[in-house]
Symmetry: C2
Subunit: 398 residues, 2 copies
């Protein structure tokens, strides 16, 4: 009997596991099914570029048909509605299909965390998927057109980014690259445009080296960003954001990057979770479920200091590899998982727009063009690793 392996989600984690299994296993060794909402994988780490309009969504979408070999993996385009791991061990899809499994890999990613801020969900945009970032891009363009053709209201050209974490900072880098282009296109004085970042913590990029944070903030300020730190958002309305001090910043474009939580599918599973994320065991399994892996943004992994690692693409890819290796070893040798998962931090690089960035590789800090170049290398390496030269040539940045 071939084991049935079901992989839920084709993000960084699920896709990595799928591609390794596809390459390593013979078709008579396992019966593999990959379920994903879209027929494409997307480069989440570049979503902010499509939101700002500096990179077309075509460049960040990779058709799963180009990556998945149907002789090795059955692909189902569907949404997961419910995962029953306790009673029937079944996965329910929105197309009516019900799948059973011997091994299950749950890698359904994250959703936006609103921290209960009133009106946030209804009145802000978010960097979440190809569709949501395309909406942001078109919305921004539309605001420029409206300002020019209808009424020159300042709120049309006031762009608020909520949150100064990784995504927020990278988005500001791209936005400030894009705005001069739009000003030229619509013949608008760049001085009419305001870009404001609002962050509840005392500093941008909490946890990052102070020197690097300073570099990023100064650079973005030079590019026109106004930073408001130490200031939670109290409420979002269709007119803008109300700060904790009661001040209203009028804006028709508020983009929320303030936090993520796990996929809400967790609520259907009947197990303990922290904001829809699960602290997995040392083998990346849901505690007391030996045949269910949970990887990517839905999993919580602790570092040596007892702090959770931030959910990143790098983490998801390493988890995806680990999971695939362990599954292969289990199928071939019946080996129980002996070696726990360890995360190897290969470094972090944040882009700050064209030719600019900050990064830390080991103990080494990099800034400017070198950081930007490094970021490109990392991105291209990932593209090459999933799709070889064809995908690298089509989607890579040179």
């Amino acid at each position: 009997m071939k084991p049935k392996i079901i992989i839920l989600g084709a993000g960084y984690g699920g896709l990595t596991t799928s591609l390794i299994l596809q390459k390593e296993l013979h078709s008579d060794e396992a019966d593999i099914t990959l379920v994903n909402k879209h027929s494409y994988h997307y480069i989440t780490t570049h979503l902010h570029q499509s939101a700002a309009g500096t990179k077309s969504t075509d460049r960040i979408k990779i058709d799963l048909g180009e990556l998945i070999n149907p002789k090795k993996i059955s692909f189902i385009k569907a949404e997961v509605k419910k995962v029953d791991i306790k009673t029937n061990q079944e996965v329910y899809l929105n197309n009516g299909q019900i799948l059973d499994y011997d091994l299950l890999i749950i890698a359904l990613g994250s959703e936006i965390e609103t921290y209960g801020i009133e009106g946030l969900k209804e009145n802000t945009f978010s960097i979440r998927s190809v569709n949501t970032v395309q909406l942001i891009k078109e919305h921004i363009d539309y605001m420029f057109a409206k300002y020019k053709a209808k009424e020159a209201k300042p709120e049309y050209l006031t762009f608020v980014v909520g949150g100064a974490g990784f995504t927020g900072i990278e988005l500001l880098g791209e936005l400030t690259d894009r705005i001069p282009v739009l000003c030229k296109k619509f013949n608008i004085n760049p001085k009419s445009v305001r870009v404001i970042n609002i962050e509840a913590s005392a500093n941008a990029l909490p946890g990052f080296d102070t020197q690097l944070v300073d570099y990023a903030v100064k650079l973005l300020e030079k590019k026109g960003v106004v930073f408001i730190n130490n200031t939670p958002i109290k409420e979002c309305t269709e007119n803008g954001v109300v700060l904790a001090n009661g001040e209203l910043i009028k804006s028709k474009t508020v983009i929320w990057t303030g936090g993520i939580r796990g996929n809400k599918i967790m609520e259907t599973m009947g197990i303990d979770h922290h904001c829809s994320r699960v602290k997995v065991d040392e083998f990346l399994r849901i505690p007391s479920f030996e045949n269910i892996f949970m990887i990517g943004d839905m999993s919580i992994i602790m570092n040596k200091n007892g702090q959770p690692y931030p959910p990143t693409a790098q983490m998801a890819v390493q988890q995806g590899k680990y999971t695939a290796d362990k599954i292969i070893s289990y199928i071939r040798n019946g080996e129980r998982y002996q070696t726990p998962f360890t995360f190897l931090n290969k470094g972090v690089v944040a882009s700050l727009g064209k030719g600019e960035g900050i990064g830390k590789i080991g103990h080494k800090q990099v800034t400017g063009y070198r950081a930007s170049f490094l970021k490109q290398l990392i991105d291209n390496h990932y593209l090459y690793s999933i799709g070889g030269l064809p995908v690298l040539f089509k989607k890579g940045s040179m």
Copy 2:
């Protein structure tokens, strides 16, 4: 004493007059000033393409700096607020300048005619200027993004064109070219999109040969347009259009092409007019004002049957040439205008999208690719006539 010549407006009429005077007159023969709201001339006959998104606005804008020689003509970028032709013979600009003139050419074009339809002005878009068509383009793109990322409401993808005259029909041709591109970009089934034309008259393109109208309507129907004739619009709301029969067509995008009237500057002049247009004398002058020409969309010219000619680019260009010739002749010979203006109909061609069109040249009907080709020839000829090869190469279509 050099005569002071003031030209108001750099559309087809005013620009043609300006360029001929610039070429023919020595700088010591006249003191010429051109006033225009924008620093560019635009190809009004292509506005519908930019509205649909099939041609960028860069391609339809021509910088006046490339056409006007400052040694010959003083250019003022300003809006005309008031023209006092009775008391002081002065032109008032929105920058505070007041200009006096010996010869005045008024060529300030047209505005949208709403026929008193309730809510029309507030809730519809119009093909009027570079800015308004850019707004339409961005709005349409935004509707696709919203449909995809927010809610799949049919009104987001229902596009209503009010009026089946020349502009309406040409817009439908471009829109139906653009929609498949947008469906592909946003991964939307083209069957979700509706394009509806609403016309109060019994037929599209009133006055055009029946065979040609049939050709156009059948072609556009094949491209997905639904025509509703014989049906005035009663009201426009933010939810769509209410027809005379009470039916509501839900749509977030209603583009009104149903009619034009003259520039409202007319109301400041204290003379008789019909919807801000004036029936000029046989020499294109405002009756009983020997030194004031009125050309382009603001002027009414009657044909042999006592019907007004439709206001077109072709008419404005011919009027512009006539006016320039008469001014030159007057300055050089003191000649009073002996030869009345006559309009020479060189033919009419309407585009129906890429590679398709209808036209009538003399008694000859043309359709399909030949009409489309002819349209390109006419457009390129105009570009060449105003700006020579440099402008033709930059803005022409090949």
